[in-house]
Symmetry: C2
Subunit: 761 residues, 2 copies
């Protein structure tokens, strides 16, 4: 399911910590969290480790893993899990399969037809095989095109085009005087996670929802279509889950607990994450006749897609019949493959790495391109172990099942092992889809410095620069302002975006409070086979990382990170970047509150001045907005105080660590640092609370969550930010107090760790 928002822009100004970060020869720098001596040893092991991953192996793994459709419940899904299990064992890891039983509906009946208002048209809902592509003709094994967890329904209603189907689009519809009540909406993919579209449509009274891939974003407008090029062909369809995952991911029937055989389950009709209206995804070939039948107002300029015709909003005579019916039974079995290298010194400290193995169809890019790197990492670490390397901490490699329908395998496992993970997990590092281009890292800001350090030690296959340096220069090229460029050039570490949702880190980070990162390359190649039958070996080896060198680079980055975390004397958490980031979030929130006030005040003034009447074209009338109460000023003081405390504690920790480093060898030994490391492991847990976010208690993390109305995209400080966005001022004020308390606790933990560090002899 994962969809990387590449190269997220730098959104905020910040303090800078150190002078220009040119590429430093790896060997000359002592690793953060290591004594000079242990750093040298570690660097030698890492060097050997990074030499192991082999593109040809990965090509072979991909060919095998993507040879047949391998969605949840399919024979090849199980077969792949067993093959991966065998591989982990072959590499010397202690591996097993862990099973869960989950709700996973598959299509029973699908109909989309234009019944009035245009030439009778029945949608094909079928992706044709392509002669040159040998796996595209496995129709009997392919899941039909559909959106998993759509409610069953059979509706006939007029059609309305709602652009991307996000809340702003409905504001514009309201101004145009168009209601979707009792209508079927047709929305294009993009600009939100797909599950948001039926959710918002249902909130506005729609009775059905179609989601189509418009060639403007996802088809011939971008370039040649498959098989001539990488882009989505006319009949290509994006499958995908529409469960309300911003409420809770995982099995809809077992929120918060592992879906074991005997777990207590909700009834299907009690599951809150199933959509309220029927939903189907369609291709642009199927969408074209429906959109062409629409009449009414011409769509606003930004709503117009690439289909080579006039887009209208409707409603009019065009009436659609939509049927969605699923097989809801029986429950399907998930096969999570879990493999371990036990820690030699601290076996109860777990460093975890994962990627899913299930695909919507053949899934060569998604997820196999990431999964093969994970396998090659496991092989490399196995080789090192055979050569005498002993990780201090336990290393766990996971190949998740059921990510596509809703992060099922990782979520159920993270729920099932909640207490253990809270006690033992040092960090979780995820990967998913991988491609050619820039190294993308997102995640916990306590690991921002760590992830930058890893990126400094991996070489970009195309430019031979470090992937860190290439990314820095790319960010300079993309920066919008001189201030942004200045920061990119001078700040020691490149900023990493926070994690929202869209892949298997979600339960670890946001439910369990485990510090998490997501690694992957991309940004150079386009594509249009996401969640279609064309995401296969043929496509990947023609249009993506065709010689698997970026898959090798990912394996090098992942393996380096795992080894370095497993071996560190002092766990490489860092709080200066973290405090700096939280301070930037606070600044954003204050700007957002101010901007909301200003906008409402300005709009009220314009209403009073008669701006909306004066600019109303009688041939294309718009409904004027209503005046709104100007928002109150919020009390940000608790957060401001907390951020001050956080900055002080981060500085304290930094100073204590410098002093420790100066003491040298013995003091820096892991044995002296057991208590500090325990606190460091605890540090991300402290950012959660038991109650979770308002109205979605599954999400415990108080700094990072997927947006309730964005789905993938992160909302940082979500309780505060979303309250402001939804104009819930009382809740915003309350949330400020809650988050401030969480941050004060975090600062206390950091201070405590600093004091322990200072006390080490």
């Amino acid at each position: 399911m994962f969809r990387r928002t590449l190269l997220a822009s730098i959104l905020f100004a910040s303090l800078s910590f150190a002078p220009a970060g040119n590429h430093v020869i790896a060997e000359e720098q002592t690793l953060y969290g290591y004594s000079a001596e242990s750093s040298q040893t570690e660097r030698q092991w890492e060097e050997k480790l990074r030499a192991v991953p082999n593109p040809e192996n990965m090509r072979a793994y991909m060919k095998l893993l993507s040879a047949h459709p391998h969605h949840v419940g399919s024979p090849y899904d199980k077969q792949n899990a067993e093959w991966i299990l065998g591989k982990f064992k072959e590499f010397g890891l202690d591996a097993q399969i862990e099973q869960f039983d989950v709700l996973f509906p598959t299509p029973k009946e699908r109909v989309v037809e234009l019944v009035e208002g245009g030439p009778k048209f029945v949608a094909k809902l079928q992706e044709p095989a392509v002669a040159v592509d040998p796996t595209s003709n496995q129709q009997a094994e392919q899941l039909p095109t559909y959106n998993a967890y759509s409610i069953d329904g059979d509706v006939t209603a007029p059609l309305v085009y709602v652009n991307y189907g996000v809340p702003e689009d409905y504001e514009q519809l309201e101004r145009m005087g168009v209601s979707v009540k009792g209508k079927i909406v047709i929305a294009r993919y993009y600009h939100s996670w797909r599950g948001i579209k039926p959710k918002v449509a249902a909130e506005h009274g729609a009775v059905g929802c179609l989601i189509f891939s418009d060639p403007h974003e996802d088809g011939f407008v971008q370039g040649e279509t498959f098989p001539s090029g990488p882009y989505r062909p006319p009949d290509g369809v994006q499958r995908g889950s529409v469960a309300d995952m911003p409420l809770y991911p995982g099995d809809p029937l077992t929120p918060g607990v592992g879906a074991t055989k005997d777990a207590k389950r909700l009834k299907v009709e009690e599951a809150q994450t199933i959509t309220k209206i029927p939903v189907l995804p369609i291709s642009y070939a199927d969408a074209q006749p429906l959109l062409a039948a629409l009449t009414g107002r011409v769509a606003p300029a930004e709503w117009r897609g690439g289909l080579g015709m006039t887009y209208h909003v409707g409603p009019g005579a065009a009436k659609v019949h939509l049927v969605v019916k699923s097989n809801w039974e029986p429950l399907k079995t998930l096969y999570d493959v879990i493999a371990k290298i036990p820690g030699s010194t601290f076996p109860d400290e777990w460093v975890i790495r994962g990627n899913h193995h299930d695909g919507w169809v053949n899934g060569a890019e998604d997820p196999v391109s990431g999964q093969i790197a994970i396998l090659e990492e496991a092989r490399a670490l196995g080789e090192m172990a055979k050569a005498g390397w002993k990780p201090k901490r336990t290393i766990i490699y996971c190949a998740w099942d059921g990510e596509e329908p809703g992060l099922l395998g990782s979520t159920e496992w993270a729920e099932q092992h909640y207490d253990e993970l809270r006690a033992h997990a040092v960090a979780y590092i995820n990967s998913d889809t991988n491609g050619r281009g820039y190294f993308g890292v997102e995640g916990s800001h306590t690991l921002e410095k760590f992830s930058n350090d890893v990126a400094r030690d991996v070489t970009d296959p195309e430019t031979k620069l470090s992937v860190w340096k290439r990314d820095q220069l790319h960010k300079i090229a993309d920066a919008k302002t001189a201030e942004q460029r200045e920061e990119i050039r001078k700040r020691a570490d490149l900023r990493i975006p926070a994690l929202g949702s869209g892949s298997d880190y979600t339960a670890f980070l946001q439910h369990d409070g485990v510090a998490s990162l997501n690694f992957g390359f991309g940004g150079e190649d386009g594509g249009g086979i996401y969640h279609s039958i064309y995401d296969d070996f043929y496509w990947y080896t023609h249009f993506s990382d065709t010689d698997f060198v970026y898959c090798r680079a990912l394996a090098q980055a992942g393996a380096t990170a795992m080894m370095r975390l497993a071996d560190a004397d002092l766990l490489p958490f860092e709080f200066g970047d973290f405090a700096d980031t939280v301070q930037a979030y606070l600044k954003e929130l204050k700007v957002l509150a101010q901007k909301t006030q200003d906008e409402i005040r300005e709009r009220n003034r314009e209403i009073e001045e008669g701006v909306f009447q004066a600019t109303n074209d009688p041939r294309r009338p718009l409904v004027a907005p209503s005046a709104e109460a100007v928002p109150p000023h919020l009390n940000f003081a608790p957060l401001e105080n907390a951020v001050d405390t956080l900055n002080r504690s981060a500085a304290e920790y930094h100073k204590a660590l410098e002093q420790l480093n100066a003491k040298g060898g013995a003091a820096m030994a892991a044995s002296s640092l057991v208590e500090v490391n325990k606190l460091l492991i605890e540090s991300e847990r402290r950012l959660t609370n038991a109650e979770g976010l308002p109205n979605r208690p599954w999400f415990k993390h108080q700094l990072y969550a997927p947006g309730f109305y964005t789905g993938y995209a992160v909302k940082t400080v979500p309780a505060v930010r979303e309250a402001i966005e939804l104009k819930q001022w009382k809740q915003a004020d309350e949330a400020i107090v809650v988050v401030a308390r969480v941050l004060e606790n975090e600062a206390a933990l950091i201070s405590s760790a600093a004091q322990k560090l200072a006390a080490v002899k």
Copy 2:
């Protein structure tokens, strides 16, 4: 030819002169330039005047004037001129036709065909008649689709798509490693005046140029196409001139002098404004197979149009054969209709109003929608004269011929009468195309206050607000920043954009130095019939100002302005707004110079850092730019000093006028102000110099000119601005001195006028 850039945005901050400008009841305010007493009389006349224009008359005029194609040299062009002459006479004006003989090539041979690299295709180059549209079938009388003043040529060459064909597009082509040398380019209309496209293409070595209307800007992407809606149908073509008018407009054979029978003429091959390569405009139906045959790199995102296909840049196998041959002889006769109401007190002070009467085909919108307002104005003023009104100054109404090929009729007349106009012209007010929506004014900033005052006295037909108020509220709605809104709300006058080119004011303002304005309504209706056979009575009465109420509003605005200028005691020039505007231009120039320095410095730094290598995708390589010398600092001091002097003189004039107003009646009488008025008439002339702009001496005005590489769009302070844009630093420094001297002279004139005002008893 005129193409209004609607609702030009407010580009600069400024001083504000007076508190909020709510709509003031006309009768309560003393007119600027009038004593209280004469103001009252004037207002009574104006009230009567504005009651005269009648939509039904204008509908009848349009039906008649657009009944047949009436381009230069056609029988109906002459017939229309004679009919207009008759009308002016009927209205009581002293009218005559003035003739000129000009070069006007018409098509002899036109071929566009795809000869290699795709299915053989011969372009239709023909707009079909439409059954419901009664004038669309006059094929025998219609000028074929072509670009006037294309050089003759017969070329066969590979095709390259160059987006809009402006200089930035060629920079991007260079980075992509694509040369147009020896190629035929295909450019889409928009983002520059059309004549820029072949000019820039030829500068880059192209041998031919096709210009097409892309449906993204001009066709079905915008809405229903004709005859279902107002937008350009598949075979619709935009005719138009491609003469190098930014060098000099008017007859290519007689630059600077009137094209009278005996004028000394250049040979055709000596005429510098004829294109260097053959050019033809084509429809999107004709462009589609050519663009579809292009291979090579996929066009950059912003280059992609609306044709529902993948756009490529080329070159590749696609080869085009282009033939353009014209009938260059004989010279064609222009019929300018000139009508006068002689001034009763100051017959040698001329207030001039104009619009063209020639069209590319039937020309209902362009130019008849403006021409009918002009006629109704003349009728209204004639009515007033019959009722006893006597204008102090001479009023001249002009219906120009030959605007479409190159502002021929107005330019030849303004050249022929250069000395008289320099001596007598108070102001020139132009109109062209008119439609439904907002009142647009552009022009001389010494008349900014005057044009705002006129707008305050005309009622918007839809909202019943004054057109000024509606425009103000619209500008508030469109403003991008709080600062812009603040200025719009508080500044006494709305800013007016400067005039570039694109209609008949050009020679008056930029060659003769006559203060000029352009009036017209628009902004609510879209269209796609510009310069096609579908710009006719059927289209206008179905999709534009269908009940002619905005044509009436234009007649009311134009007639009010003419009467008010003709009757004023003191000519209503104002220098506060003017000085404020020049100061804003100076600020822009300094920002531009700084920005150019910063950009070059930053790019050099990125070249040194290796940004371009690091971000180069080996599958889609880009050529890195070369380092450039960082521009020197320019000496803006002469302009800064001149602007200070200008501000002082404007304040001096303002104060003297306030004192005069306080003295009341007798002092304010026109008879006391003869000398001051002479200076005021002279004020725009002082903004010109005899040498004209560097490399284009025809353009004498030192503040306003069409951009050498934009064609329509204005470049203010052009000698300085274009030197900076072209990185000619020495020339920029020299131009600053020249313009500063012009402005110092202007300030001296204003001071002198202020002193004379102060001396009036």
